[in-house]
């Protein structure tokens, strides 16, 4: 009989649609973004960071980059601690994405120095050979609009100071996007792997691994430290590095905090020791 009564049919179809909707879409609001998943250390975006986020949205960065780390072994190794619901309470809209043409960015904040980002955004292939990311050097030519950003902060209800707003006049879009990237994932403390036991270089004075070490250095280190370890405006000259093997290993393993240098623990001890051996070999000559 419903096949002959369009109004009844519409009511029945709406009811059928609303059952799953209510349970899986409406009901989760009772748990998500409440005290149940709150993280005290997560803070709202500053005016500069929020503007960077809006530039990220404007240029569709989310089409190629995700911002959520899954609790899977290799994912945590590659990107860091898995994402928690409470980390995203200030994200309107969410930017988790659905495709990783480029790497996940959920914890890119504090991984690289600012200078790395400035150079990489303007010319991605200068830092990451064979990357297919577009150039965004034109961000440097675009000033920010402090009045508009103030309105955005008011709509979002995020705190800001007059100083932060007046400072925007001196900044451009590149400053904003870098500030945003450096904020990502820093709401929770970074977990550092702890090395237990004595560190001993298995390749000490083993010149057979130098070729491997050189290739690994070129792949992971040369973009900042230069092909010949001579350094750049991003990272220091390390051609004459005077540091015990174990300390150098530890430094590369963990990196330096707050955008000093990325940690390379995920590439494994064998490759790390080869890099250490290669770097130390330069000093010897």
């Amino acid at each position: 009989m419903w096949e002959k009564k369009p109004i009844l049919f519409l009511i029945l179809a709406t009811a059928a649609i609303l059952v799953g909707t209510t349970i899986t879409m409406i009901l989760p609001f009772a748990w998500v973004n409440t005290d149940a998943d709150r993280i005290e250390t997560v803070t709202p975006y500053s005016p500069l960071e929020q503007e960077g986020r809006d530039i990220y949205i404007r240029d569709g960065c989310n089409n190629c980059h995700t911002q959520t780390i899954r609790p899977l072994v290799t994912e945590v190794l590659r990107y860091g601690e898995y994402s928690k619901s409470g980390e995203f309470v200030y994200d309107r809209p969410f930017l988790w994405g659905s495709k990783r043409t480029g790497p996940d960015l959920a914890r890119v904040g504090g991984k690289y120095p600012d200078a790395w980002h400035y150079k990489h955004m303007a010319a991605p292939r200068s830092m990451v050979p064979r990357s297919n990311m577009p150039d965004y050097g034109w961000y440097r030519d675009n000033p920010l609009d402090p009045d508009m950003i103030r309105r955005k902060m008011d709509v979002l209800g995020f705190p800001y100071t007059e100083e932060q707003i007046s400072d925007l006049a001196k900044r451009n879009e590149m400053d904003a996007i870098v500030a945003y990237l450096q904020k990502l994932g820093t709401g929770i403390a970074k977990t550092e792997a702890v090395i237990v036991g004595e560190l001993h270089n298995p390749y000490q004075n083993d010149s057979s691994v130098l070729a491997d070490g050189k290739a690994l250095f070129a792949q992971h280190c040369a973009a900042c430290h230069g092909d010949n370890l001579e350094g750049s405006d991003i990272a220091p000259d390390i051609s004459d590095l005077d540091m015990p093997d174990a300390d150098l290993y530890q430094l590369i393993f963990n990196g330096l905090p707050d955008g000093g240098m990325p940690g390379f623990s995920a590439i494994g001890s064998e490759r790390l020791w080869k890099i250490v051996t290669f770097i130390k070999h330069q000093k010897a000559h």
Partner: protein, 472 residues
């Protein structure tokens, strides 16, 4: 009973415009695919990949997809109800508002005005236009059904009505946003909630806009093309109601392993697997309707499009649930497998049915026989092969990259850096572009064939007189 005079002019207009937007979508898709292998093709700021990709999806889904749905629904509803459209003026208003919205979408997306929420990128002023557009469409369809001269509503009308209601609910909720200015707004929901709402929308937009409407077309055009009725009415009833009930539970399968509550993910996974039943209910109903008629696959080009279309629907609705299982999702999600899955659905299923519908109605609204059936057959093979060249290599690429992402050394460290896995994708991405070009050639032939039909097609015996009287 005398056949009433139908409004065919509006159907012609919607067909023309939807094909134009479809061609734009394919062209932009080919350009965006080239940008993935040749980054220097990103012309800042307006023509970068991040802005072109939403333009590609919006032109494809809303310009070509929804445009075709409008054309087909306006055609089918008049015939199944045996009355003229409730309001010609409202339909004309709908046509121009539709085109204004699509043009507005294209311009604003290139300018960078986007909400970033996938398949719902349009900023709030355009959202308002979409709502008005959909209400105008809904009123016309519902009122036409109300004054119908056929007591029973045929299966196609059920899917139409479900689509109208479903899209309305989904779009209104997911587009809830707080404006900052004319071109900028923030989502009404934050973080994990926003993600869950977005994929409740995203997945069910696929259900309500790109599953129900092509099924409405399929259930109408298959019996019309073969001359034999649908195999089982009871099976269509079961399929319909279980589909509209179960689909809405599954959105979170796009969010497996994310911070969305585990129980929501589990429900999504379970219901996704259960959805195989209603999906294949329609597939079987289509196949069984061909009993004794399979020879038509050779003789009737319309049947080829329809049966290959429903076959890709069947494959899509097996592959989808597979991806919705946690363990497989952990492996394959975020790789190129996923765009290949989507493109089997859009290029294989939805577009195949759309092409069949257009081929079916063109002689009936223009009163001319199709200009060339061999060209239609060539169109069929080009889009079939183009789609397979597009999708199959990317499934392989997805498995390859997933394997590399998850590979570890004996000491538990990662075997590959991200870039080592990405550069492996380049050859596959080149092949994908080639597949897209083959598909585009097929569509250009299709357009040429239709153009020649309207100019130089033989008068059609089916409808010559009927068209003259506006009764086709």
């Amino acid at each position: 009973m005398e056949t009433p005079a139908y409004n065919t002019a509006i159907v012609k207009s919607f067909v023309n415009w939807s094909i134009l937007w479809g061609l734009v979508a394919i062209l932009v898709g080919v350009i965006a695919s080239l940008q993935m292998v040749l980054p220097e093709l990103n012309f800042a700021p307006y023509l970068t990949f991040g802005r072109l990709r939403p333009l590609h999806t919006n032109a494809g889904l809303y310009g070509w997809g929804v445009g075709t749905i409008f054309a087909m629904f306006l055609y089918i509803v008049q015939r199944l109800c045996k009355v003229r459209l409730w309001s010609d003026k409202l339909a004309t208003f709908q046509l121009w508002l539709f085109n204004a919205t699509i043009i507005g979408a294209a311009v604003t997306l290139l300018l960078g005005y986007t909400t970033s929420k996938e398949y719902s990128e349009l900023e709030w002023p355009l959202d308002v236009l979409v709502v008005v557009l959909w209400v105008a469409f809904a009123i016309n369809i519902i009122m036409t059904i109300m004054k119908r001269r056929e007591e029973q509503m045929y299966i196609s009308l059920w899917y139409m009505l479900a689509s109208i209601i479903g899209v309305a609910v989904l779009y209104l909720v997911n587009s809830a946003e707080v404006p900052v200015s004319l071109f900028k707004s923030y989502s009404a929901f934050a973080g994990t909630n926003d993600a869950n709402v977005e994929w409740w929308f995203g997945h069910n937009a696929v259900a309500m806009a790109f599953t129900a409407p092509p099924l409405a077309m399929f259930y109408y055009f298959l019996p019309k093309s073969t001359g034999v009725p649908i195999y089982s009415h009871r099976l269509s009833i079961i399929s319909f109601w279980s589909l509209v009930f179960m689909y809405l539970w599954t959105g979170a399968h796009h969010l497996l392993w994310t911070p969305v509550p585990d129980w929501v993910q589990t429900l999504a996974m379970a219901f996704s697997v259960m959805l195989i039943a209603p999906s294949w209910g329609s597939v079987f109903n289509g196949y069984l309707s061909m009993r004794g008629q399979w020879h038509q696959m050779k003789e009737n080009y319309l049947v080829k499009f329809l049966i290959l279309g429903i076959t890709f629907y069947g494959l899509q609705t097996l592959q989808g649930p597979m991806q919705a299982i946690r363990s497989f999702s952990a492996f394959i999600h975020y790789t190129d497998w996923i765009p290949a899955h989507i493109h089997m659905g859009t290029m294989g299923w939805v577009s195949m049915i759309g092409f069949a519908g257009i081929y079916y109605l063109i002689p009936r609204v223009y009163g001319r026989e199709l200009y060339s059936i061999p060209l239609a057959n060539l169109h069929f093979w080009l889009i079939l092969i183009g789609q397979l060249i597009w999708t199959v290599p990317l499934w392989v690429a997805g498995v390859l990259q997933a394997g590399m992402w998850h590979a570890t050394n004996a000491d538990g460290s990662l075997a590959y850096s991200f870039m080592e896995t990405m550069i492996e994708m380049y050859p596959y991405w080149w092949v994908r572009t080639f597949g897209g070009v083959v598909y585009m050639l097929g569509v250009i032939l299709f357009i040429y064939n239709l153009f020649k039909t309207t100019r130089a097609g033989e008068p059609s015996p089916i409808s010559e007189i009927a068209v003259a009287q506006g009764r086709a």
